[in-house]
C-alpha cells in the first residue's frame, strides 16, 4: 500500500516552507527502493500491530472492554467538535490568509496581529483564554451593542442581544470556538503560503484581462493555491483531531475527558490511557493515510 517513489520530495512541503506542520505522523513514510527489508516502514507495521493487538485485548479482556465502552461515548463529541471547529477555522483561515497578503495597511495589520497573537500563546492557555475571557468579552460587547440599538428605538432587534448571557453559551460551543480561533491562525499561514506560491504572472495576466483583484483571486489564484495546499490542510486536520483533546480542560466530555473521569473513578489508569491512546492513534493513522493518498493523486495529476 505504500510505494512512494524514492527521491521525490513532496511538492507542497517545498511550496509551503513556513507552514507550521506539527501533525503528519506519516510524514516519514517513504520507501527507499533497493534496500530490501531494511527499506520497509517497520515502525508503521508496529503502530498498526499495536492498534490491532489492543483491539483484540479490548475484545477479549473485560476490564479493557469496560474502559472502551465507557470512553467511546465521547467519540461522537470529539468528531463533531473537530469537524465543526475545522470548518470554521477554514473560513477564518482563508479570510486571515487573504488579509496577510492584503496591501491595505489596516487589514494586513489586523490579520498579522491575529496570527502572531495566536502563535505566541500555548494552545492550552489559548483555550482557557478564548473560552473564559474571549467569549465573555464578546457577550458583553453584544449586550452593549443591544443597549445601543435599543436606544435607537429598534427594540425587536435589540432584545436577543440584550438578553444574551455569558452562562448561556455552552462549554462545548466555547471549546469549538477556541479550537477554531486557534487553528484559523495556522490555516491562515497555509493559505498565505499557498497563494504566494502562485507565480505573479498569473495575477498579472488575470488583471490585464480586466478582472478585479477579487475576481482574479476567486477564479485564477485560489483554485490553484488551494489545490497546492490540500495536503497541508489535511495534515492540520489530523493535528486538530489530536489537539481537540485539550478541550477536556473545559470539562467538555470528549474522549480524553471521559477517559480521565473513568481513570479517576476506577483507578484503572492503564486500561483508560492505553485505550484512549489507541483510539487517537487509529484515527490519526487512517486520516494521515487518506492525506497521503490525496497527495499522491494530486501529484499524479499535476
Amino acid at each position: 500500500m505504500i510505494d512512494t517513489p524514492s527521491g521525490q520530495t513532496p511538492e507542497v512541503a517545498s511550496l509551503t516552507p513556513e507552514v507550521p506542520s506539527e501533525a503528519a505522523p506519516l510524514e516519514s513514510l517513504k520507501i527507499e527502493k533497493g534496500r530490501g527489508l531494511a527499506g520497509l516502514p517497520w515502525w508503521l507495521f508496529a503502530l498498526v500491530l499495536i492498534s490491532v493487538w489492543v483491539g483484540f485485548v479490548i475484545y477479549l479482556d473485560s476490564d479493557y472492554r469496560e474502559a472502551f465502552t465507557f470512553i467511546k461515548s465521547g467519540i461522537r463529541l470529539t468528531i463533531t467538535i473537530s469537524l465543526s471547529a475545522y470548518a470554521v477555522a477554514l473560513v477564518i483561515g482563508l479570510l486571515a490568509g487573504l488579509g496577510r497578503i492584503s496591501s491595505n495597511v489596516v487589514i494586513n495589520n489586523v490579520a498579522t496581529f491575529y496570527v502572531e497573537f495566536v502563535r505566541g500563546i500555548p494552545m492550552l492557555v489559548l483555550i482557557f483564554f478564548v473560552a473564559l475571557v474571549g467569549v465573555p468579552i464578546v457577550v458583553e460587547g453584544l449586550n452593549a451593542l443591544g443597549v445601543w440599538i435599543e436606544g435607537l428605538g429598534l427594540g425587536p432587534i435589540a432584545e436577543p442581544l440584550v438578553a444574551l448571557q455569558n452562562q448561556s453559551v455552552p462549554m462545548t460551543l466555547r471549546a469549538m470556538i477556541a479550537l477554531a480561533v486557534t487553528y484559523g491562525a495556522f490555516l491562515a499561514e497555509i493559505f498565505r503560503a499557498g497563494i504566494q506560491s502562485i507565480e505573479r504572472g498569473q495575477m498579472e495576466a488575470a488583471r490585464s484581462l480586466g478582472m478585479s483583484y477579487a475576481q482574479a483571486m476567486r477564479y485564477v489564484i485560489l483554485p490553484q493555491a488551494i489545490r497546492n495546499v490540500l495536503p497541508a490542510l489535511g495534515n492540520d486536520f489530523v493535528a486538530m483531531v489530536k489537539d481537540s483533546s485539550l478541550v477536556s480542560v473545559l470539562a467538555v466530555r470528549d474522549i480524553t475527558q471521559i477517559a480521565r473521569l473513568y481513570a479517576g473513578r476506577t483507578f484503572r489508569f492503564r486500561e483508560a490511557y492505553v485505550t484512549l491512546s489507541v483510539m487517537y492513534l487509529t484515527m490519526t493513522i487512517i486520516l494521515s493515510f487518506l492525506v497521503r493518498l490525496l497527495e499522491r493523486r494530486l501529484r499524479r495529476h499535476a
Partner: protein
C-alpha cells in the same frame, strides 16, 4: 470621432528604489499603428509597456488611453484594462483551466457574455491563431508556441482596442518563433494597434510603422524601420543595431 492618438504618454518616470527604469518618456501612438520598441535589457522598454495597462504604477507622469486618463480619480482601471490586451513573455496561461476556459473566463466575468457566446468567440479566436483542435487540452499539454498563441487568442477574445506584447517570442524555442510572429503579422495587417517589445528584427521590419529605440530609461531614437536600419542618427542606436544584426 475618436481621437487619432489612442495612447498618449507624457513625461513618464518610474523608479524602483534607486534604479531609474524610466527617466522621462513621452510617446504617442496613433490608432491602427504598430510600434516596436527595441533596446538593451534594462533599458526600460518592458516597464514602459507595463505602465500602459497600469501593471506598473509610474512614479510620475501621465498616460491617456483612448482619451481616458489612466490616473484619474474616477477611472475604472478594470474597464480600461479590458480594452488593452497583453501578451507576456512567459505566456501566463491559467494552468488549472482548459484552453477553451482560458479564453472564455474573462469574457464571461468581465464582458458578461453568455457561456455560448463566449465559447463561440473563443473558437473563432482559436481558429484565427490556428489551434482550434486544442480547445479541450490543458496548457501543460501544449508546446510553448501553442501556449503563446492561446495567450494571444485569450487577449483577442476581449476585443481589445490595443494589444501589448512583452517579448512574446523570447521564451520560445527557435522553431516555434515563426508561428507566433505569423499570428502577430496577421494581426498587424488587420489594423490592430500594437505596441511590441521584441528583438525580432524581421518582424519589426515587416510589420512596424515605427521603431523606438530605448536606452537607460529614455527614448533615444524614433523612426520608420527603413530610416532606422539604413540611416540611424544616434551613436547608441548604431552600436545597438550593429550588435543585434550581426548574428
Amino acid at each position: 470621432m475618436p481621437e487619432r492618438d489612442i495612447i498618449v504618454i507624457k513625461d513618464l518616470y518610474k523608479y524602483f528604489g534607486d534604479v531609474k527604469a524610466l527617466n522621462g518618456v513621452s510617446l504617442t501612438v496613433e490608432r491602427g499603428k504598430v510600434v516596436v520598441i527595441i533596446g538593451p535589457s534594462g533599458s526600460g522598454k518592458s516597464t514602459l509597456l507595463r505602465c500602459i495597462n497600469h501593471l506598473e504604477v509610474p512614479t510620475s507622469g501621465e498616460i491617456w488611453i483612448d482619451g481616458e486618463h489612466l490616473h484619474g480619480k474616477h477611472r475604472d482601471i478594470n474597464a480600461i484594462r479590458a480594452e488593452i490586451g497583453m501578451v507576456f513573455q512567459l505566456f501566463n496561461l491559467f494552468p488549472h483551466l482548459s484552453v477553451l476556459e482560458n479564453v472564455t473566463l474573462a469574457q464571461r466575468i468581465v464582458r458578461k457574455r453568455s457561456p455560448e457566446e463566449a465559447e463561440r468567440i473563443a473558437m473563432q479566436q482559436l481558429e484565427r491563431v490556428g489551434i482550434p483542435e486544442k480547445a479541450h487540452a490543458y496548457p501543460s499539454q501544449l508546446s510553448g508556441g501553442q501556449q503563446q498563441r492561446v495567450a494571444i487568442a485569450r487577449a483577442l477574445a476581449m476585443n481589445p482596442k490595443i494589444m501589448l506584447f512583452d517579448e512574446p517570442t523570447s521564451a520560445l524555442d527557435p522553431e516555434m518563433i515563426k508561428e507566433v510572429l505569423d499570428v502577430m503579422l496577421d494581426l498587424a495587417r488587420e489594423g490592430m494597434t500594437m505596441v511590441v517589445v521584441t528583438h525580432e528584427m524581421g518582424f519589426a521590419r515587416a510589420a512596424a510603422d515605427e521603431i523606438i529605440f530605448m536606452d537607460e530609461g529614455v527614448i533615444v531614437e524614433r523612426a520608420t524601420p527603413e530610416e532606422l536600419y539604413n540611416n540611424p542618427k544616434e551613436e547608441r542606436t548604431k552600436l545597438f543595431l550593429s550588435q543585434i544584426l550581426h548574428h
